[in-house]
């Protein structure tokens, strides 16, 4: 009873937080037809700055961290990325109206990680005063990349099987079939994307240079404010994509709502195991849950579009951006409240 009350109060308190408020604000602006626009150049710069900041912070932290502490959480992150895609394989893909390509692309995005959701969770944890290992955000690629790669490989296999089944066409010029990109290429391409490049660059600089002064005088103070702008953009985009989502099967909307909660719970569970085993912190567990709950909205979609051109972006981008990300953002207070209770026991 007491627990439930505490849970509800923590949760309600978090909903008032500016980060979520800006998200709702963006949705409201889009819904009301406001002409307010964040210029694209500014948005892209904000993403680079946020990713650099997360990377720098993690890199600086790793300098002092015990690498042994990171092994289990990193493993958990990888297991989550792979597990989320496999789970979709045996649930989402069996539903009626779901083409394998579309279902796998959707699963890949939801297995991957949203940088903006991660950043928002970091700010919420800091505001609330719930500590986390400063290197925890560096778990990002350990979940993101395996999920995307696995989804792409499964899609290529599904396609190859389908091609075998189709008999040789009775004649006429065969349409040139662009050959499937190889895993190495996809991996390299994914790491070359803007967001991941900035994250990795930040981590390397944090590790080998001494960027602490510029980190503290610039990246750290701007983080929260730039995130508020990013949330505005996410909110506007979420609303705009809802229309697209309406054009595809209902399953994607259902998946977009439920998957973040299921995946987040999986992330929380594995994180809690890591806590029991190696003392992974409460905030770290929340961040792992948030990464699992979130779906990639900036860097995942182009990777999937390039690698699975047959998949319909209205389905996977729609499910992720218009529902997955807002729900994942809203779920952050949930994991925090859960951690608050479990770690106090």
């Amino acid at each position: 009873m007491d627990l439930a009350l505490e849970f509800l109060s923590t949760f309600a308190q978090q909903l008032q937080k500016p980060t979520l408020a800006f998200l709702f604000g963006g949705m409201a602006l889009a819904a009301l037809g406001s002409r307010l626009e964040i210029p694209d150049a500014v948005y892209r710069f904000i993403v680079v700055l946020l990713m650099l900041k997360i990377g720098l912070g993690a890199g600086i932290a790793i300098r002092e961290a015990d690498p042994a502490d990171m092994v289990l959480p990193a493993l958990a992150a990888g297991v989550l990325g792979v597990g989320i895609v496999l789970l979709a394989r045996v649930t989402l893909l069996l539903l009626p109206g779901v083409r394998p390509e579309d279902g796998l692309a959707t699963a890949g995005l939801f297995g991957a990680v949203s940088a903006s959701t991660l950043a928002a969770a970091m700010v919420m944890l800091e505001e609330y005063g719930m500590g986390f290992e400063a290197w925890a955000p560096a778990l990002y690629p350990f979940m993101d990349i395996p999920a995307l790669l696995l989804a792409i490989v499964l899609a290529q296999m599904a396609r190859a099987k389908a091609a075998q089944r189709v008999a040789v066409p009775a004649g006429g010029p065969a349409r040139p079939r662009p050959k499937a990109p190889r895993i190495g290429e996809i991996l390299a391409d994914s790491l070359r994307g803007s967001a991941l490049s900035a994250l990795v660059l930040g981590m390397v600089l944090g590790l080998v240079a001494r960027p602490d002064p510029v980190f503290e005088s610039f990246y750290e103070p701007l983080f929260r404010g730039l995130l508020s702008i990013l949330m505005l953009v996410m909110g506007m985009e979420a609303w705009a994509r809802l229309a697209e989502l309406r054009r595809v099967a209902h399953v994607y909307a259902v998946y977009g709502v439920l998957a973040p909660l299921v995946h987040g719970a999986m992330g929380f569970g594995l994180g809690y195991l890591a806590h029991l085993a190696t003392g992974f912190s409460a905030g770290g567990v929340v961040l792992l849950a948030v990464m699992a709950a979130s779906s990639s909205d900036i860097s995942g979609p182009p990777t999937l579009r390039a690698a699975i051109p047959q998949a319909n972006p209205a389905a996977y981008v729609g499910a992720s951006t218009s529902l997955g990300t807002p729900i994942a953002l809203l779920s952050v207070p949930l994991w925090m409240a859960l951690a608050e209770i479990l770690f106090a026991l």
Partner: protein
């Protein structure tokens, strides 16, 4: 005084810019220009200038002036068949005139 030439215009998502440029380079084109923009088509709206989560889904227009009409037609066909069945974009050709044939 002027030499007839042909302009190939390709409007695609930024994601396709690298393969399209590779195609143009392989066809031996000496140059082309690129302009960022937006648009509306059968696959919905592409905003211009305003923030869009995925930069790779923004629209770019690639314009190449060349003197060899056959190459232009072949490129248009390849692009249409290999990329534009599945992915957003259009291609068109326009007759133009240039001064220095050697430049193209």
């Amino acid at each position: 005084m002027t030499i007839p030439a042909i302009k190939l215009t390709i409007v695609v998502e930024r994601l396709l810019k690298p393969p399209v440029e590779r195609l143009l380079a392989e066809a031996g084109l000496s140059g082309w220009s690129v302009f960022p923009g937006g648009g509306r088509g059968t696959r919905g709206l592409h905003r211009a200038e305003a923030a869009q989560l995925v930069r790779e889904f923004a629209i770019v227009k690639i314009e190449a002036v060349l003197t060899d009409r056959a190459t232009a037609e072949r490129l248009a066909r390849t692009l249409t068949e290999e990329y534009l069945e599945d992915q957003p974009g259009i291609v068109w050709l326009e007759p133009v005139e240039v001064l220095r044939g050697a430049k193209f």
